[in-house]
C-alpha cells in the first residue's frame, strides 16, 4: 500500500478526476473531503461491506421459503396502496407455474 503523510488542508489527487483533502484531525478521527465525478461511488467501507453481504444473503432467499412465510403470516399493506410508479415498474406477465 502506498502511504503518504499529509497535513491538514493538504490534498491528494488520484487519476485526474479525484481529489482527497485532509479537512481535519481530532482525537483519532481524520476528516477527509472527497471530490470525485458522480459516476464514482464513494462509500464508508464497513457500510459498503455490510450492504454487499445483505445483497448476497438476499439473493439466496428461496421463493418457497417466502411463499411459506406469507402463507402463514401477512404484511399489513392496507395503509399504503401500491403506488402508480411501482405499478408501472412491474412486469405484468404472469409467471407460469413451477411444475
Amino acid at each position: 500500500m502506498l502511504v503518504l503523510s499529509r497535513k491538514v488542508g493538504e490534498v491528494i489527487t488520484i487519476g485526474n478526476s479525484i481529489e482527497l483533502t485532509i479537512v481535519g484531525y481530532d482525537r483519532g478521527v481524520v476528516r477527509i473531503g472527497i471530490n470525485a465525478p458522480k459516476s464514482i461511488a464513494v462509500h464508508r467501507k464497513e457500510i459498503y461491506d455490510k450492504i454487499v453481504e445483505t445483497n448476497q444473503e438476499s439473493s439466496s432467499v428461496q421463493f418457497d421459503v417466502l411463499k411459506d412465510i406469507l402463507k402463514n403470516t401477512s404484511i399489513d399493506d392496507s395503509l399504503s396502496d401500491m403506488n402508480k410508479l411501482e405499478q408501472l415498474a412491474l412486469h405484468n406477465s404472469k409467471p407460469k407455474n413451477k411444475d
Binding site: V52, I69, S74
Partner: protein, 145 residues
C-alpha cells in the same frame, strides 16, 4: 404505430420459465453492490409472495432479490434528496431474520427504479438512522377453525 416488443425467455429457480417483454427491462449501469456485473433486471410480482416483489437478473436468472415497498416497513421512511419520488419507485431488499418466519429489510440501501427511462440503481443513505436489517412486521393469519 406500435413498436415491436421482443420477448426474452428466461428460466428462474423462483418461478420456472418466464417470458419478459424487453421494454420492461431495467438497466442497472452499476449493478447492485457486490453484483456490479449484473446490469439488466426485471421486476416481477407473484401472487404467492405478494406484497413482496422479485428483482430478477436477466443476465443470471438464478439470481433474484426479494424486495418490498419500504413504506410497508416504515410509514415514515425518508430516503432523502438523492431519490426523486415523483419519477422513481423505491424498494428495499429482503433477507431472512434470525427468528422463524421473520423477514428483515435493508432500509439503508434502497433500490431505485426510474420508471420512464427504465434505469435502476442501488442508493446508500448516509443517515445513521436506517438499518440494513430492519424487521418487517408480519402477523400470523387467523387459522380457519
Amino acid at each position: 404505430m406500435e413498436q415491436e416488443v421482443k420477448l426474452i425467455k428466461i428460466t428462474t429457480p423462483h418461478f420456472g420459465e418466464i417470458e419478459i417483454e424487453d421494454d420492461k427491462l431495467f438497466k442497472f449501469p452499476d449493478g447492485l453492490l457486490g453484483f456490479e456485473n449484473l446490469n439488466r433486471f426485471v421486476l416481477i410480482n407473484h401472487e404467492e409472495t405478494a406484497p413482496l416483489r422479485w428483482l430478477i437478473s436477466i443476465d443470471e436468472p438464478n439470481i433474484g432479490f426479494p424486495l418490498i415497498n419500504p413504506w410497508l416497513v416504515d410509514i415514515d421512511y425518508k430516503p432523502g434528496r438523492g431519490i426523486d419520488l415523483e419519477k422513481e419507485a423505491a424498494f428495499v431488499v429482503i433477507t431472512l431474520g434470525n427468528k422463524e418466519r421473520e423477514m428483515t429489510a435493508n432500509m439503508k440501501a434502497p433500490i431505485v427504479l426510474e420508471v420512464e427511462n427504465k434505469t435502476g440503481r442501488q442508493v446508500v443513505i448516509s443517515k445513521d438512522k436506517y438499518s440494513t436489517k430492519q424487521a418487517v412486521i408480519n402477523k400470523p393469519k387467523n387459522e380457519g377453525v
